[in-house]
């Protein structure tokens, strides 16, 4: 157990993030637990509104000073982040834990040059002069593959292309060699070729810096490409989590099946329609009773009685390191999975 702890960089236990609103309490994240070892990559997948981004912001304490209610524990290298005074948390932000945001155009300040923004991230945590920090920024821009870094340093975000902006964002995040990098939908705003380049870059930099990465995405392709472990979120909590290979080859729960089936594949027959998950994400103010996924679940009939509607399933281990939240019997799951594979292949 001690050995386990030593290898854990980030440990999130029973995280809850609730927002009081005029219409009621929005339970964006409702009891989430996961852990991450140094140098590993975790993919968090889910629809919009499933609580992925809220989770990542809770780790950095970005909800502080708002009406959000955060509870549970987030321990980073043995330090409890939720209990940490803001002053000390600030020393970790951007230094030990850095973040990349979805839309780099709105995430970069329009009035400051790219170089200045990267330099600022460096100067906040190092007592160096402006010139030194700018030199460091240039080095980082060069590292993330921006040509003519010395010149582009003095340009503004709107003068960069989308891919270049995201590279600059990454440069800014990595300028302090963080031990944990959180990438919130890092490639969503980019086109496919640039997307591949950015993921390649992140992998390369991970090898170089040895950072742990959390990738938040709705795109399973990204997870397959970059992650070691995956956590599938639905309506504020985990419905399935485990190693990428396990979850992708032996998915154990209808929502994950839906996600996997809705992924375009080269080997799919031409003209075959992509599967979609019927219905829309549930209300986070009054989530469905029982299993939160049940209103949209096509396999509810396979469960005896009305367990799906009345009792909430718990996360349970199906194989070492592979957790799933579902009332379906293991045998039923295996049967459905077998049929699905026959159908697809």
């Amino acid at each position: 157990m001690t050995e386990q702890q030593a290898r854990t960089l980030l440990d999130v236990r029973d995280l809850r993030v609730h927002f009081p609103t005029a219409d009621g309490l929005v339970r964006s994240v409702d009891g989430l637990s996961f852990s991450l070892a140094p140098g590993r990559t975790l993919g968090i997948v889910g629809e919009s509104g499933s609580g992925k981004s809220v989770t990542s912001q809770a780790i950095l304490g970005l909800h502080r000073g708002t009406r959000a209610q955060v509870s549970g524990s987030i321990s980073f290298d043995g330090v409890d982040l939720l209990g940490l005074p803001t002053r000390e948390l600030r020393r970790l932000r951007g230094n030990e834990i850095a973040m990349i945001f979805q839309d780099p155009l709105s995430a970069l300040h329009p009035y400051y040059t790219v170089g200045r923004q990267i330099a600022e991230a460096y100067r906040v945590h190092h007592s160096v002069g402006k010139r030194q920090a700018l030199a460091r920024a240039e080095e980082m821009l060069d590292l993330v593959g921006i040509p003519n870094a010395g010149r582009r340093l003095h340009e503004y975000p709107h003068q960069f292309s989308g891919g270049m902006r995201q590279r600059a964002m990454i440069a800014m995040a990595l300028v302090n060699d963080p031990r944990l990098l959180i990438a919130d939908e890092p490639t969503t705003a980019l086109d496919v070729t640039v997307q591949a380049q950015i993921l390649e870059l992140m992998k390369k930099l991970q090898q170089e810096f040895g950072s742990a990465i959390i990738v938040i995405t709705h795109d399973l392709g990204v997870v397959a490409d970059i992650a070691d472990d995956v956590l599938v979120m639905y309506a504020g909590h985990a419905v399935e989590q485990g190693a990428v290979a396990d979850v992708f080859y032996r998915p154990q729960m209808p929502y994950t099946w839906g996600l996997l089936a809705s992924m375009p594949r080269v080997e799919n027959p031409r003209g075959q329609r992509l599967a979609t998950i019927a219905g829309s994400p549930p209300s986070l103010i009054a989530p469905p009773a029982g299993c939160r996924f049940h209103p949209r679940c096509a396999y509810r009939g396979l469960v005896e009685g009305d367990a799906c509607v009345t009792s909430a399933p718990q996360l349970a281990t199906t194989e070492p390191g592979h957790l799933v939240r579902c009332h379906l019997e293991a045998a039923e799951r295996a049967r459905v999975l077998g049929n699905m594979k026959d159908g697809v292949r």
């Binding site: 927002f19 005029a22 970005l62 909800h63 502080r64 000073g65 708002t66 009406r67």
Partner: protein, 336 residues
């Protein structure tokens, strides 16, 4: 922007009503706005005050006609001394004259204030209608036909806004009032009232036109205009039938905010000597006259001034609440 707010606030509060709600699932924007407005206590108090003032505006001339209030009868017996100051404390307050009487003439102050509200509101409403009318038509034309029409209207707006507006409002008075009289409007106050409505309305339309133009430019990108066009609806029909319902929110909010600026504008014009002249009472000329007695008879000075202030405040508060109710982003959570 040239008509500086500090000078007389013909430039209404900045409004974000341009981002009026489109649709939120379930409830109509109307219903949402109404619910939000109801929940805003300050705005509701302001609304009640506006209703009260509206009732006064309508009823005061009738009360004057039937003799319940009397704004014209002179009471030389109630004023005395070298300055002909009102007899009694606080400007001669008594049961017959709840706010006292005017110095010199001894006319009943409350009656004069009530009748002043009537004329002020009438002028402000009429001027607002002129501004809205001109602004909506020209804004629609600019937004819909773009090109040369848009360019010309844009330059015209630039030109109008380059004039020192307050100075123009008073400077044009001798010229235009005479013209109006020549054109057959009875000389004296009727011509002046027409003049004030016309110039306030004229210098106000550019702001409406800009808002409407912006709205039209963004609305015409939306599908329903395209759909109407494909179904063969005539351009002009689309302008008025399809677009106007989508423009009511900004027009309403902006009108509520512009109206009080016209009320204070009338007062400012009286103060600068080109307003309506007594014995016809307006809040502006009452206040203008009372300046001479500001220290000797504070009641006479404060009563019209505070009335003016309360009317303007009520409209501003309500307009503010209305804008918040119509702007879906206004309940955005605070900073992090």
């Amino acid at each position: 922007m040239t008509l500086s707010a500090g000078e007389f606030a013909a430039e209404p509060l900045p409004t974000t009503a341009e981002e009026a709600p489109t649709s939120v699932a379930g409830r109509s924007p109307w219903q949402i706005a109404r619910a939000r407005l109801r929940a805003n206590r300050v705005a509701m108090v302001a609304f009640v005050a506006i209703v009260v003032f509206a009732v006064i505006a309508v009823v005061a001339p009738i009360l004057q006609a039937v003799g319940v209030i009397d704004a014209t009868t002179l009471h030389p017996d109630l004023v005395q001394g070298p300055g002909a100051m009102p007899t009694g404390a606080f400007g001669g307050i008594s049961l017959q004259h709840p706010l006292g009487v005017e110095p010199q003439t001894g006319r009943d102050l409350l009656s004069r204030i009530l009748l002043g509200i009537t004329l002020d509101t009438a002028i402000a409403v009429a001027a607002t209608i002129v501004s809205v009318g001109l602004g909506v038509v020209l804004g629609l034309v600019a937004g819909f036909y773009r090109g040369a029409a848009d360019w010309s209207i844009g330059r015209l707006i630039d030109l109008i806004l380059a004039f020192p507006q307050l100075l123009m409002l008073i400077a044009l008075s001798p010229v235009l009032v005479q013209r109006l009289t020549d054109a057959g409007i009875p000389s004296g106050n009727p011509s002046k009232v027409t003049y004030i409505i016309a110039v306030l309305g004229f210098f106000g339309w550019p702001y409406f036109a800009r808002i409407i133009r912006g709205q039209v430019l963004s609305l015409r990108e939306r599908e329903f205009v395209e759909a109407a066009e494909m179904l063969g609806a005539r351009r002009s029909r689309i302008n008025f039938k399809e677009l106007l319902p989508n423009l009511w929110a900004p027009i309403l909010v902006y009108s509520t905010l512009v109206l009080p600026t016209y009320i204070s504008a009338e007062a400012a014009m009286s103060f600068l000597g080109v307003g309506i002249v007594p014995p016809t009472p307006t809040l502006g000329n009452l206040l203008q006259d009372s300046v001479n007695y500001a220290t000797a008879d504070p009641t006479y000075f404060l009563a019209p001034g505070l009335t003016l202030f309360i009317v303007v405040l009520a409209f501003n508060q309500f307009g503010d609440g209305l804008r918040d109710a119509l702007d879906p982003r206004s309940d955005r959570a605070g900073g992090r």
